[in-house]
């Protein structure tokens, strides 16, 4: 049925359209509403969300970017129980969960996936659009113009060092080549399968003359480390850094910092941002599932997540929230939270790779990694 500004349109049609638009704006709980005017405190949204009775989240480990506290605060503030399943699911598994649990009440409402997966999910029609009330303060290069996905937090690559096992921690990429660190350096998985490991290779590339368009020097760097025996292929875990099996772990800053905080009584972990090299950072993306069983609660979650309160909770987990620049300029971040973060210098100039650069780097890695990096 084609309606539109055709020759037959008269005053009555305009009136009808106007009434329709007015009705639309007035009806509160419509699922295609663009945003909630009141943000995280919007009463109508809260009421609608509470009526749904719950929220299903997936793949949110409690000590990843302080998700534990974020989930708890949401539950306490709104009285909506959150069922957080499969904290260890990968981004690919999250998308598969949306597909597999389509139409079930147990399906995930919101997901937190890497940027390539956000694009894939959007392309497959797995997400529904939603723009939070503070949409404009999210940087453009971190969101989808149509509101299907939006970056939530970013981090840069750091070195987590177990100071009991490593007497003088390395300070730069070049330091890692020293023979003192034999058998000590590890990534948290395969660069083709783990996002932080992929970022680690990219960061090494930036620190050795490469660029966002060229991951080659990073592969070369790790090939040298592997040949000299400094690099161990073990997939680093909380257990392996704490036990000293992999005393130097290249991982996201927020993960290394959270691990350092957790082991405070037992051992001291230093988190080092390599000096003298442009930092490599990347972000994760929030999205609402198209088949979300609790869409209003999901929208409230996003509003809460992107509110100042939610973003500061992310900062407490050492992850830089998407609206970091905006919040700094408005001076709303508590001083003690800022003090616990690493120095601000490296974060000012972080550039994220776009999807073309990412795909090119993935291709180069797939071709060269197993050929060159042999331990």
């Amino acid at each position: 049925m084609r309606s539109g500004w055709g020759p037959g349109t008269g005053r009555r049609d305009v009136l009808k359209l106007g009434l329709g638009a007015g009705a639309l704006a007035a009806m509160p709980a419509l699922s295609h509403r663009a945003w909630a005017a009141g943000g995280a405190d919007d009463a109508t949204l809260i009421a609608a969300a509470k009526a749904e009775g719950g929220l299903n989240t997936i793949a949110l480990p409690p000590d990843w970017a302080n998700y534990g506290e974020i989930i708890k605060t949401y539950q306490d503030k709104y009285g909506i129980p959150i069922s957080n399943a499969s904290p260890d699911a990968s981004s690919a598994q999250e998308l598969q969960a949306i597909r597999s649990l389509k139409g079930q009440r147990r399906g995930p409402d919101v997901v937190d996936v890497g940027p390539s997966f956000a694009l894939i999910g959007a392309g497959e029609g797995l997400f529904q659009p939603y723009k939070v009330s503070v949409w404009d303060t999210i940087p453009d290069d971190m969101k989808d113009a149509g509101g299907l996905w939006y970056g939530d937090y970013f981090g840069i690559v750091s070195l987590g060092v177990n100071t009991s096992a490593v007497k003088n921690p390395p300070k730069s990429w070049a330091d890692l080549k020293k023979p003192d660190y034999k058998g000590m350096i590890a990534l948290n998985g395969s660069p083709l399968g783990a996002a932080a490991a992929f970022a680690g290779v990219f960061a090494a590339s930036l620190g050795n003359g490469g660029s966002l368009d060229d991951i080659g020097p990073g592969i070369q760097f790790f090939a040298e480390l592997a040949k000299s025996g400094n690099f161990t292929p073990v997939a680093a875990t909380a257990a392996s850094i704490t036990s000293g099996q992999t005393p130097i772990v290249i991982n996201w800053d927020y993960l290394n910092l959270a691990q350092a905080q957790k082991t405070k009584g037992m051992l001291k972990i230093d988190v080092v941002i390599p000096e003298g090299a442009p930092p490599f950072g990347n972000y994760y993306c929030q999205a609402i599932s198209k088949y979300a069983p609790h869409p209003e609660a999901a929208k409230l979650w996003q509003e809460f997540f992107y509110s100042d309160q939610g973003q500061i909770l992310l900062l407490k987990g050492f992850a830089h929230p998407a609206r970091f620049a905006d919040m700094v300029s408005r001076n709303v971040i508590p001083a003690d939270v800022m003090a616990a973060l690493p120095p601000a210098e490296p974060y000012k100039n972080v550039k994220f790779p776009d999807s073309e650069q990412t795909k090119k780097a993935q291709k180069t890695l797939a071709e060269q990694w197993s050929k060159l990096v042999k331990s």
Binding site: S90, S91, A92, Q93, L95, G114, S116, F117, I120, A165, K182, G183, M184, L187, G189, S190, P191, L192, G193, A194, A195, A197, F198, A226, G229, T232, P233, V234, A235, T237, A239, S240, S243, G244, Q245, P247, Q362, A366, E367, S370, K371, V373, K374, S375
Partner: protein, 309 residues
């Protein structure tokens, strides 16, 4: 059989029983009985294994924008993929062999007719538990023991022996075989136990009465009888190692190229999503298994002489 034949043919509706010969009745009864015994199994497997897996075929040959393409299957010929397949096959074959021999011997000593009863239960239970002890915990345990900074490595260094300098690496193919043995040996123990029980003591006694030594007994009686079961167990161990993913990933993050890790990276990872590549790799794995099964069928037929009764 006559009894069963009468019961079953009375129930069928087509050519009336008196119109079938006795042989026809028996044949009809046989097919119905086969359907009854084997049918549920085949139905179940078709519904929940074969049909879902058929997507692999469609995905491996469909292009990114629809249409049929051989591009992804052709990628299987690339050197790093072939290298991964070679590694996987070698690792599976050797770790299965280690499991077969060490597991077989352990089963004989610990669960044979001469072993004390308590030891047998202990070994069976331990095997059941150890067969599952794979993945990250196993990797952690071995890195803590034999990793480059592991307990035993450091202890040996104090005695002047540096195993890593001598060429050993836990993260190489031989190191992986050592780690895989931890779940291959127990698996072998559990699977071969009934076959060992089937070796009757009377045969051993008869052989000894006829003057055979232990070696003769095994060479002419024991092993030939066990061989079909040993082969069957070997296939299981091979498949078990071939599909193992969590242990090698935790140990090497895929730096030792193995097919299950490549598949997991593209289907279930955090960096990229490439369903067609994953499907093509899986088809490659199926082809390898088909070849292995064909070899097995050929060998089994020659070895099954003793089984045909």
């Amino acid at each position: 059989m006559v009894e069963t034949g009468q019961v079953l043919t009375a129930a069928t509706a087509r050519p009336a029983p008196w119109q079938l010969s006795a042989a026809g009745r028996r044949a009809r009864a046989a097919t119905v009985a086969t359907a009854l015994f084997v049918g549920p199994f085949l139905l179940y497997v078709t519904a929940f294994l074969v049909l879902p897996a058929l997507r692999l075929l469609t995905q491996a040959f469909s292009g990114a924008k629809g249409g049929v393409t051989l591009q992804y299957v052709a990628e299987l010929a690339e050197p790093q993929v072939l290298h991964a397949f070679a590694n996987s096959i070698l690792l599976s074959a050797f770790s299965a062999l280690v499991g077969l021999i060490v597991g077989g011997l352990t089963a004989y000593f610990a669960m044979g007719p001469n072993a004390p009863r308590g030891l047998r239960s202990f070994v069976t239970t331990f095997s059941a538990v150890a067969a599952n002890f794979a993945g990250v915990p196993l990797a952690f345990a071995f890195i803590a023991t034999l990793g480059s900074l592991g307990m035993i490595t450091v202890w040996l260094k104090q005695w002047g022996i540096d195993i890593y300098a001598a060429g050993f690496s836990l993260y190489s193919l031989s190191g992986m075989v050592l780690v895989y043995a931890y779940f291959q040996i127990p698996l072998m123990l559990i699977v071969i136990a009934p076959a060992l029980e089937g070796l009757r003591r009377e045969w051993r006694e008869a052989a000894e009465n006829l003057g055979a030594s232990a070696g003769d007994y095994w060479r002419h009686v024991g092993l030939p009888i066990l061989l079909p079961s040993l082969l069957s167990a070997y296939i299981l161990l091979f498949g078990n190692a071939f599909s193992a993913y969590a242990t090698p990933y935790a140990l090497t993050s895929g730096s030792l190229a193995l097919v299950p890790i490549e598949i997991s990276n593209v289907l279930s990872g955090n960096v990229m999503l490439a369903p067609q590549t994953g499907a093509a790799l899986s088809i490659g794995m199926i082809v390898v298994m088909v070849v292995v099964m064909a070899l097995y069928a050929v060998i089994a037929r020659r070895v099954n002489r003793w089984g045909r009764r």
